[in-house]
Symmetry: C2
Subunit: 225 residues, 2 copies
């Protein structure tokens, strides 16, 4: 559906403070967004590269600067357009997100030379989650982790001076002995409301922007790269 | 040089508003920072991958959300620790940086599985640069660009609805006919004052943080990953 020029400008130049209240439940089923097809194709075509699951997550730190680090994409939550990543709740990004819930995930696929930018609100699911479905989602992600990944949540406080205790990084025995996720395990849920897809191949490159509208549908627009 | 616990805390938890005035000239010669060695090694070991020159730059957008996109690393400015990237001055990141000069560049090297996060102030050099050395740096980067890259600065306004004019993306003839950079060409200079290096290989992983001190020297600290 082509957009009028005025709507496009609305999409490209958001209002000064669009800090809408966060959705009540980020796991609400949602029709498949139109950018899911191109993203699924990119994931498929780049599947031989383990790093195709990596992406860079930008947040706003408490001291007012943007922060940026690599996270591992853990798939979409059932029947939604919500992207999942796991995090140590002792990490700086958790402090960032608790104060300012907005983030932008940048995924560059090296094989197909295309970039997806996914911007939206992030919800953090910790051990305190009151909502049963959110707590269940966190447990499911914990169970899906490798033994090595689970152990890392038992390591000493991240970013503190390197522990000199050689046993500090051995974890706490086999993870199977710990069926429940520890308090340090958090699940991050990013609900994009704006997506920007750039394909570097071709001359000129193709660029498409998607914007979630208030009724939950998506507008899309081919734009100049 | 090992740091005391209190200094480490200062490094890890910056003051609430450390928005120091920007340095007068980002091209001031600077002794080689201690993170330059590890970064040079990573660039060398990953040199077979063209995308080892790519990195994700996080900025703060005018509407208060973090923004994140891939940029190409264009090397260091002579005798400094200042990283260079080029940008179309009509892009959103230029608006971001003009309002809030802070950025964090995240570079993940796929071959050696290591990440560098470089945080600092960004200076944009445009056609209006009053400083002769900054103007010269911009011209040098323009001259170093490929013909195809130069042409892209003559394309129609980025993020506007895709131009239907097939000739709009043909550029303006051979770049050699345009020895001077167009107004759309900007040079970005990132001066890191905090660097975080994470090596995923090894168990546990190695992580080192570097902080530029007010006297221009750097503190470094091995931390828990």
């Amino acid at each position: 559906m082509p957009l009028t020029q005025s709507l496009v400008c609305l999409i490209l130049e958001p209002a000064v403070v669009p800090l809408d209240p966060l959705p009540v439940n980020p796991l609400t089923p949602d029709p498949l967004a139109p950018w899911r097809g191109p993203l699924a194709r990119a994931l498929h075509r780049n599947r031989s590269k383990p790093h195709s699951r990596y992406a860079q997550l930008a947040t706003l730190s408490a001291h007012g600067r943007p922060a940026n680090r690599t996270v591992v994409f853990r798939g979409f939550y059932h029947h939604s357009n919500t992207l999942m990543f796991v995090t140590d709740t002792r990490s700086a990004k958790v402090t960032d997100i608790t104060q300012t819930p907005w983030g932008e995930l940048c995924r560059y696929f090296t094989q197909t030379r295309e970039q997806f930018r996914l911007s939206g609100a992030i919800t953090l699911i910790t051990a305190d989650a009151a909502d049963a479905a959110l707590g269940q989602a966190r447990r499911e992600r914990w169970e899906a982790l490798s033994e090595a990944s689970r152990q890392s949540f038992h390591w000493p406080q991240p970013r503190h001076p390197r522990s000199e205790d050689p046993t500090a990084f051995e974890g706490s025995g086999p993870a199977s002995a710990f069926p429940d996720p520890p308090p340090s395990f958090g699940l991050g849920l990013l609900q994009p409301d704006a997506v920007d897809h750039l394909e570097l191949r071709g001359n000129p490159q193709n660029r498409t922007q998607y914007q979630r509208l208030t009724d939950g549908t998506w507008a899309m627009q081919a734009v100049n790269p």
